[in-house]
Symmetry: C2
Subunit: 147 residues, 2 copies
DNA sequence: ATCATTGCAAACTGTTTGCATCAAG
DNA sequence: CTTGATGCAAACAGTTTGCAATGAT
């Protein structure tokens, strides 16, 4: 099932990263299909498949891959880090009960009348029940912009 | 500086909560002006003012007050819980560098052309540099809605 | 008198780090 | 050979919990 290591090696190199077996395994995992996974979940999933990476290696490489831009990070239902290999621009729907994460195309969410239609659109398009969206935008405050 | 305890007692009672000195102190803190604070920050702030609540009491009461609807929770720059006593609907701008949190009125953010104007509007209105907003909506997936 | 709240310490979860060993380039 | 990656264990931060003492109603 796994891609040819040379492929992965080239991919890593093109991002300025070294090849390693763990990285190959992790990238294979993500490339099988778009996945949303936490470090721990990935760790156990890989263990089930006979890949005994250490947990710290998993953490380390998720962070490396994220910094290289090969995967994206979001926050799960409990605030844990969730990694997503789908790089195309999209939003996320996170189930507060089971933790399930679903991708939401940006243009379904971004209707003409944002705050209200956001919720309605997303609910209609996905069947989820969406909590009142309170945005928590990240950025740099004026002071920190000059630092 | 602190409000009359009877006031706070009545407030707490009206929310079905018992009065206690820690709750009084914490509510006083929040009501002095709208504040954004983490549990730990609150703990030290109160210590500086001579109120030696235990950290677990601070955590417990923030959670109690939040569940009662007297304060709101959001996630800070590092994913820590930040509590906000401003209950009117608004969004937040969180500085990734210094952790500063700023309120953003909903209608400044929610323009006519959401995804794009969101960023532009917010930046223009606040002077912040806003990272591309990726929404992480919370809700219930179809399965969990029937549980 | 009853039952919730407090404070302390210990437990826990998610994540990071130090360091000796090992593999990639 | 040089530098970066691994794996383990220990360290950490933020938060929660168990429990006996205390305080509110």
């Amino acid at each position: 099932m796994s891609k040819k290591p040379e492929k992965t090696r080239d991919l890593l190199h093109s991002f300025g990263l070294r090849y390693s077996k763990p990285r190959n395994i992790i990238l294979d995992y993500f490339h099988e299909k778009d996945r949303h996974t936490s470090a721990e979940h990935l760790f156990y999933d890989l263990k089930d498949r006979g890949h005994n990476l250490s947990l710290s290696t998993v953490y380390l490489n998720l962070s490396v891959l994220k910094n290289a831009g090969l995967i994206r990070e979001l926050k799960g239902a409990m605030g844990e880090a969730i990694f997503d290999s789908n790089l195309s621009p999209h939003h996320h729907l996170v189930c507060e009960q089971c933790g399930e994460v679903m991708d939401v195309p940006i243009f379904t969410v971004a209707g003409e009348k944002p705050t209200y239609l956001l919720k309605a659109h997303a609910e209609q398009a996905t069947g989820w029940k969406v909590k009142e969206p309170r945005l928590e935008l990240r950025g740099l405050c004026p002071t920190c912009q000059n630092t």
